[in-house]
Amino acid sequence: MIASILTPLIGGMLIGVAATLLLLFYGKVFGVSGVIGGLFGTPEKDYDWRIAVVIGFFVGGLLLSIFLPASLNNTVTRSPMAMIVAGLFVGYGTRLGGGCTSGHGICGISRFSKRSMTAVVTFMLSGAATVAIVNLVFGGSI
């Protein structure tokens, strides 16, 4: 039981450290939807640090696949159409809403931002409702 609290806690702390470091070195919020979204064009044309972060994600994923392969297990079964629709909603929604779990959830809440707290409550409720509907209406199969 301790382990089931400790690993997410420590993983979360690592994420918090990464967010602080990105702010300290680059002055940027580690909101991943914004980091990636900015690759589609920013006035500053600051693409190089963003690409570096994404390559870091790839290398991190590679390390996980070697040293912690169970961490990449996905036991959720969804149809290809569901994954495409989900991706479209996440891509468009995070840009429209100005953030995601890292941007609003971690960085925004840490700043006591009312916008971020509102966003987090909203996407959590939306997510919970979606899971409930998928389970109750579609029997968990969509």
């Binding site: 690993t7 994923g61 996905n74």
Partner: protein, 142 residues
């Protein structure tokens, strides 16, 4: 080129944090959002760990006048709670609850080359592009 090496490292740390925290396993996200079923509290501990660290260290960083490499601190300036925030968050939550993926874990998980992950990520990037092209404020215009 060297000035982007820290960003790459921070991406690796973020990715490792996600993996250790279990956030690259969509079943844990959906389990967290499954409030009416068997609840998985992991994401809660991830947020606690991340926010506990970042809310304190963020303030220390902001005592500086500038970042170490970047020229200015780029924190979000919007303060109002507008329709875009709400609608975007609802949409994001829908996709997140459907797939159990948000932007960062999707990129980190691409190493697996699992079809659902690849479909989701491609669709997510498409959704971001659609936003870029259609948003009146930041959309393509000359």
């Amino acid at each position: 080129m060297k000035k982007n090496l820290p960003a790459f490292l921070f991406g690796v740390i973020f990715a490792l944090g996600l993996g250790i925290a279990g956030m690259t396993q969509p079943q844990k996200i959906i389990g967290f959002l499954d409030v009416f079923g068997k609840w998985d509290p992991s994401l809660l501990w991830v947020m606690v760990g991340a926010i506990a660290v970042h809310s304190v260290t963020y303030r220390l960083v902001m005592r500086r006048s500038t970042p170490i490499i970047g020229e200015v601190f780029s924190l979000p300036k919007k303060k109002d709670l507008d329709a875009k925030l709400i609608c975007g968050s609802v949409l994001f939550g829908l996709g997140w609850g459907l797939a159990g993926f948000c932007p960062a874990p999707a990129i980190v998980s691409l190493i697996t080359l699992n079809t659902p992950t690849v479909l989701f990520t491609g669709a997510m990037l498409t959704g971001m592009l659609i936003f870029k092209l259609t948003d009146r404020k930041t959309g393509i215009r000359h």
